[in-house]
């Protein structure tokens, strides 16, 4: 390869010497603070200084390759030292300084002794070059870039001081970030999730660990995340074969999961039976008190009645064929079995009247209510009210729905989805996602705000983005059901 006639190639040894000389000077003038080497704002010292290397821009000092070999009159080392000091002490930023190079008078560039040392071609190049460009890098710096396999490449420190061992270092990002929380999580994760490579036991163990972790955590929603993890364990165990619609028995596995923490069955307060608009008697329920004559029979009921007496009266009313009165009496006295049987053999309207009378004695948030409402063909109250503190735990409600699926599967699905929506609306993302999974809601897309479920455990609708799940964590949870089911 033909070497360029440009002077830079020649006298490299001189240049190298000057290089080193420069570094020394720099260090001695600047002391220990490397940061201020070129950052100080300074007026352009070059224009005024008699020793200035006219036409030489400042950074050229470091690269004496720019320096014509024979130009002894420009003692760069001494001049540069004083100029360095001046540069440092005045106020111009280095880049502004570099800019000022362009303002340098063109005539200053033609140095007769210089051009004598150059061939005509070179002189032509120099004079036609116009203002010289500033050097992109005029001080040692550390180039840094990433490699494709988790590497970080940077130029080693030693090369910056003596310029001798010019080392490029390849770092491992894994080691650099060794102590980060995400790395810990990554290490404990038995991925990638390839069917052939990963045994389901490993996945189950991982999910179990996560569940335990979640249980221990006191953050809101952590109990529900534990639930999601345990669900994944269950799915693994059953190889993803959960057929809700057909086998209620399998649904009951999930219910078992839901109920595991509900050791103490909540006591759902019984309500007094309420007046019903369908009631054929418009009067309120008469208060059971002694001395008040029964309007129909004229009898004065005794203050306290034994169950036997209640039934006896029930029977007696029927002797007279007074079914409505009979039913009212039975309902008032919580003789539900009798009331329901009788009304079930009467017209449907009466029957539903008695049934609602019965259910009205249940607490609004009793899971029994939920089931009965659903069985009666309605979306249960629980689906729109759960998640509230007063309402109580949502889990028994879902459990009772899952284990007793009959009738219209579409209704059941809608009920569960509605429940999920309600929970999501209250910010209980994990709980909502559990419901969606039960209802076989398909995973949707991040950009579709109407989609229910995108990534398990994260809400794609909130403005802030996701709940604080580490990215790989979310991805792994999102992928699993797809992989396994």
């Amino acid at each position: 390869m033909q070497r360029s006639p440009y002077i830079w190639h020649e006298d490299y040894q001189d240049q190298k010497y000057l290089d080193e000389h420069h570094y020394e000077n720099q260090h001695s003038s600047f002391g220990t603070n490397s940061e201020t080497r070129f950052q100080s704002n300074s007026r352009n010292p070059y224009k005024d200084s008699p020793a200035s290397n006219s036409g030489q821009e400042w950074p050229g000092e470091l690269f004496p390759g720019r320096l014509p070999a024979g130009a002894q009159k420009n003692k760069p080392s001494l001049a540069s030292e004083s100029n360095l000091l001046r540069q440092r002490e005045s106020g111009l930023s280095s880049s502004s300084y570099e800019l000022s190079q362009y303002i340098t008078d063109a005539s200053e560039q033609d140095d007769p002794p210089v051009s004598a040392a150059w061939s005509p071609v070179q002189a032509e190049f120099v004079s036609s070059a116009g203002p010289k460009a500033p050097m992109k890098f005029y001080v040692p710096h550390v180039p840094v870039s990433f490699g494709p396999g988790g590497q970080l490449v940077c130029v080693g420190p030693s090369s910056l001081t003596d310029g001798k061992a010019a080392l490029a270092e390849v770092h491992s990002m894994e080691v650099i970030l060794n102590d980060s929380e995400e790395q810990e999580e990554m290490r404990s994760f038995s991925g990638p999730l390839i069917r052939e490579d990963v045994h389901k036991v490993d996945i189950m163990t991982f999910c179990q660990q996560k569940a335990v972790q979640s249980c221990k955590s006191e953050t809101p929603g952590s109990k529900d995340s534990a639930l999601l993890w345990q669900l994944l364990v269950l799915l693994c165990r059953q190889n993803g074969m959960i057929l809700f619609a057909l086998q209620s028995m399998v649904g009951s596995d999930i219910a078992e999961l839901l109920m595991q923490d509900c050791k103490k069955l909540e006591k759902y307060k019984r309500q007094p039976p309420v007046a019903n608009l369908i009631s054929l008697t418009d009067e309120d329920w008469p208060v059971l008190s002694s001395g008040t004559p029964n309007l129909l029979t004229g009898e004065i009921p005794p203050s306290v009645e034994t169950p036997a007496q209640i039934v006896e009266k029930f029977t007696r009313l029927l002797y007279y064929g007074r079914k409505k009165a009979t039913l009212e009496w039975a309902m008032k006295n919580h003789l539900w079995g009798h009331a329901l049987f009788l009304s079930s053999k009467m017209d449907p309207r009466t029957y539903s009247w008695v049934m609602s009378g019965f259910t009205s004695t249940l607490a609004l948030n009793d899971p029994l209510q939920t089931l009965f409402q659903l069985m009666s063909g309605r979306i249960p109250q629980a689906a729109t009210s759960c998640g509230e503190k007063q309402w109580g735990d949502w889990r028994p409600h879902l459990a009772v729905i899952l284990s007793n699926q009959a009738g219209d599967p579409e209704l059941y699905q809608r009920a569960i989805v509605t429940m999920g929506d309600t929970l999501a609306g209250k910010g209980l993302v994990e709980a909502a996602h559990f419901c969606y999974l039960m209802a076989h809601v398909p995973f949707g897309h991040y950009t579709m705000k109407t989609d229910h479920l995108v990534l398990l455990g994260s809400s794609h609708r909130s403005v802030q983005g996701d709940a604080p799940w580490a990215p790989h964590y979310s991805i792994s949870r999102g992928l699993r059901p797809q992989v396994l089911l």
Binding site: W8, F63, S94, A133, V139, P157, S159, H171
Partner: protein, 322 residues
């Protein structure tokens, strides 16, 4: 724990200005003020010099590997105003093409996403940006954007070829319509975004202003398919900004200050998955940054920690020489 897994003695005789791994991580290219470009085989912790490329007549500022689908191709740019494209043919590296269309130092080269073809953007101190497109049979077509930045252009970086949001959008079945874009940083303290129009001309699409001094580097983050575009920029003013654009049309960019350093910041570089930014500054420290869930950028590592801080050794060196 020491994080260095390989040390390559490049034997460069002067300052090293860039070090880049190729697409597969098997080769490392370096360039220096000694006017050479060197290529090393760095597989399995080794360092075998494959090529010592001479051809530039001034300090070489940057190297860039083309996508391997086009072969083994490396571009380099230099103070000598030239861009050289080197190619490996039959096991030897040779100069394949030389572009001498600039009037001043060429400071930065960057290959476009391979989906667009073999296209190289070059930014120069003459203020122009040229785009070299390989048209076949050793021919390169040149398009030049004159006066892209007054005084000079220091860095160019291409936008990824993924349409923002495409990873998670409903697959529509049709081929995405790429809009070629790149970012440039210049001595006018600006970052400019350039877009190719339908007629093939390049137009300045956006001007991002936040720096108070020369922009030294720009890096457009690789895409992971989310609907945001991100650009990192660093400057002589010591600041590093992260620019994000949320809407698909790419019209509103907002800067967030990553950090204000005490010295010039020379390089910013994104990890492959775009979640970590490496920053290298005048204090010769390399720091790694990541965005936390609440949107703040935090420093997750100082690369030199544990191996002897670079600035400390430089300081000691200076003291010794006094």
């Amino acid at each position: 724990m020491v994080s260095v897994i390989n040390t390559v003695d490049t034997s460069h005789e002067d300052m090293i200005h860039d070090a880049q791994m190729d697409y597969y991580g098997t080769r490392l290219a370096t360039c220096s003020s000694d006017r050479s470009v060197k290529i090393f085989d760095v597989r399995n912790g080794g360092q075998i010099l494959i090529a010592d490329l001479r051809g530039h007549e001034g300090p070489v500022w940057q190297v860039a590997w083309a996508h391997p689908m086009y072969g083994n191709i490396l571009a380099s740019c230099s103070y000598d105003r030239k861009v050289i494209i080197w190619r490996e043919e039959n096991g030897t590296w040779e100069k394949s093409h030389e572009h001498a269309g600039h009037d001043s130092s060429v400071n930065s080269v960057c290959w476009a996403p391979h989906d667009y073809g073999l296209i190289l953007a070059c930014g120069s101190s003459d203020g122009a940006i040229s785009l070299l497109t390989y048209t076949g049979e050793g021919q390169w077509e040149v398009k030049k954007i004159n006066n892209a930045h007054t005084i000079g252009c220091n860095a160019v970086s291409w936008a990824p070829a993924v349409v923002p949001g495409s990873l998670i959008d409903q697959p529509s079945g049709q081929k995405p319509n790429y809009i070629k874009k790149f970012a440039s940083g210049g001595c006018d303290n600006l970052i400019k975004l350039w877009k190719e129009e339908e007629d093939g001309q390049w137009k300045e699409e956006q001007k991002l202003e936040a720096h108070s001094d020369w922009v030294r580097d720009v890096a457009w983050a690789p895409s992971i398919g989310l609907p945001t575009s991100t650009i990192a920029s660093c400057s002589q003013d010591g600041r590093v900004f992260i620019w994000t654009c949320d809407d698909a049309s790419g019209n509103t960019w907002s800067p967030k200050l990553l950090h204000k350093f005490n010295d010039v910041v020379w390089h910013v570089s994104w990890s492959i998955t775009a979640n970590i930014l490496a920053v290298s500054g005048g204090d010769n420290k390399v720091t790694l940054w990541k965005e936390s869930v609440d949107g703040q950028w935090v420093c997750i590592s100082d690369v030199n920690k544990g191996q002897g801080s670079v600035s400390a050794s430089v300081t000691e060196g200076q003291q010794n020489e006094q």
